[in-house]
């Protein structure tokens, strides 16, 4: 599903962000990407999402060689990768349902498919009956569920989450994690970059830890760190 092979990346200002990073993620896995701020988590996610291109080494995602991918093919890659951000990124002047529908509209999905898919996905994330609420009428956890619904509505094979619980309280965070686990159970590969030590420890899934731009640990069933 995803392979990084000896990847190096430097910020535009020349500072090295990733050095010789390699790991492999199989279809159906549930992985945490952990590490301190600046360890390179975001860069890894951006590489997979083809926001940036590796300086050297190989990046494969969903059977595509991202180093060689043409700019005009990037949108089609992204349609197969759902993404959830810490700050939800919902449009405030659109309802929950409209926010999800928007993601389908802009990739030119026929409206009859949109009408069918939106209630389905709202049901999956546990927001049945709240599709007419605006983001400011929803709690943080609910807003993140809308964002997740939007990421899932096009049935992506990979879900990438960048600090999905960063703005949520521990209880809500846990619920979101449960939801992510559930989504994973349905067959979606889930990759979560996070700081949230408690959550990572409790889930007991594979952990890839980055430090100073390199992989310092890749544990099948690890906690946030060895000391934990």
């Amino acid at each position: 599903m995803i392979s990084l092979i000896n990847v190096n990346y430097a910020y535009p200002n020349g500072t090295s962000a990733l050095e010789n990073v390699s790991f492999h993620i199989d279809k159906g896995e549930f992985i945490f990407l952990v590490g301190a701020s600046g360890a390179g988590k975001s860069s890894v996610l951006k590489l997979i999402f083809r926001e940036i291109v590796a300086k050297s080494g190989q990046v494969f995602a969903l059977k595509h060689n991202l180093n060689r991918m043409k700019r005009r093919d990037v949108p089609y890659l992204r349609r197969k990768i759902g993404v959830v951000y810490q700050d939800f990124r919902l449009l405030p002047d659109k309802t929950a349902g409209e926010n999800i529908a928007f993601a389908l509209e802009v990739i030119e999905t026929p409206s009859k498919d949109i009408k069918r898919q939106v209630p389905n996905v709202l049901d999956i994330v546990g927001l049945k009956g709240k599709e007419d609420r605006y983001p400011d009428q929803l709690s943080g956890g609910e807003q993140q569920r809308v964002a997740m619904a939007r990421a899932l509505v096009n049935s992506p094979s990979l879900l990438v989450c960048d600090e999905p619980t960063g703005n949520l309280d521990p209880n809500t965070s846990w619920q979101i994690m449960q939801l992510l686990a559930e989504i994973n159970m349905r067959g979606t590969t889930v990759l979560i970059a996070t700081h949230d030590k408690t959550v990572v420890d409790r889930m007991g899934r594979r952990v890839i830890e980055l430090g100073g731009g390199t992989v310092i640990r890749d544990d099948g069933k690890g906690g946030y760190s060895h000391e934990a």
Binding site: R71, P75, L91, V106, E108
Partner: protein, 294 residues
């Protein structure tokens, strides 16, 4: 572009135009100014072409003959030069007669029965551009005293046109760039207001062109509106000017034909609308570029 998409693009573009209010007005104004100056130059240029053509048509070579010239031989020699259309002989008497008509009877008395005027040939050419060559050849024929033609007038007109054209191009280029950036800035307001939307569109996998179209359409619309205002103003203005000027030329016995409003209008149509739309499209393309690099 699919039909369902086109409707979406148009709606988004319309919202942009409406929301930006004054910036929309400002950028249309600059487009109008640019096109107005361009359009004026087009109109002036068309007239210069019309007038020079007219003047050129009227240009003829006057060959003044020596008193002892053999007019029969000379006539044949001139007719042998390629490009001659018509040849009229004006005798010394006829020349004096026409002078008397212009200046009054007093002139014959003043000359005291003598006639200092030379006989001449008035020569018309098939091709006005050949006039200098023809004149040169006639000059060399025996019995020809001197040759005269209106080439200087034509040459001066041409020079004037050329200077005007260069001057016009420079001004149009400067204003065009200004219009481009004002449109880019106007569209940038829309783009900026919708940067969150654009960002979401990018990460859910909308294509760049899907994102770009509404802005391009908004830009084209601004350009089109500018072109339309300019066209109406110039066409109306020129028609009025044409009528006034024609009357004035007629009253002053000047047989110069201005370019008719229909011709000028057609030329303006062909130039203003594509240019306005082009400026609009390019301007908005510039402003969206930055936001698509995600």
């Amino acid at each position: 572009m699919k039909l369902s998409n086109s409707l979406y693009y148009l709606k988004q573009a319309g919202m942009g135009v409406w929301r930006n209010g004054w910036m929309t007005v400002a950028s249309i104004t600059v487009v109008v100014l640019t096109l107005l100056i361009l359009g004026s130059f087009v109109a002036i240029n068309l007239n210069i072409v019309a007038i020079t053509d007219d003047v050129k048509e009227q240009v003829e070579v006057l060959a003044y003959l020596k008193d002892d010239a053999n007019t029969q031989v000379l006539r044949q020699q001139i007719l042998d030069i390629p490009g001659i259309k018509e040849l009229t002989y004006v005798s010394k008497e006829q020349a004096l007669e026409s002078m008397r008509e212009q200046l009054g009877d007093g002139i014959t008395e003043a000359l005291d029965g003598r006639n200092p005027l030379p006989a001449s040939f008035e020569i018309q050419s098939n091709n006005p551009d050949e006039i200098p060559n023809i004149a040169e050849k006639i000059q060399l024929l025996p019995g020809v005293e001197s040759v005269d033609y209106g080439q200087e007038v034509v040459q001066r007109l041409f020079q004037f046109t050329r200077v005007l054209q260069i001057f016009g191009l420079v001004i149009i280029a400067v204003l065009g760039v200004m219009a481009l950036f004002l449109i880019a800035n106007t569209i940038k307001l829309t783009v900026y207001a919708r940067r969150k939307q654009i960002n979401i569109m990018k990460f859910v996998g909308a294509t760049d062109w899907f994102i770009r179209w509404p802005f391009i359409i908004e830009g084209i619309f601004l350009g089109l509106l500018g072109a339309l205002v300019t066209y109406l103003a110039l066409f109306y203005g020129y028609s009025v000017l044409y009528m006034r000027a024609s009357v004035w030329l007629y009253e002053n016995f000047l047989s110069v034909a201005m370019a008719p409003p229909e011709l000028v209008g057609l030329e303006l149509l062909k130039i203003l609308f594509p240019l306005g739309m082009g400026i609009g499209a390019i301007g908005s393309g510039i402003s969206v570029r930055k936001f698509l690099k995600v």
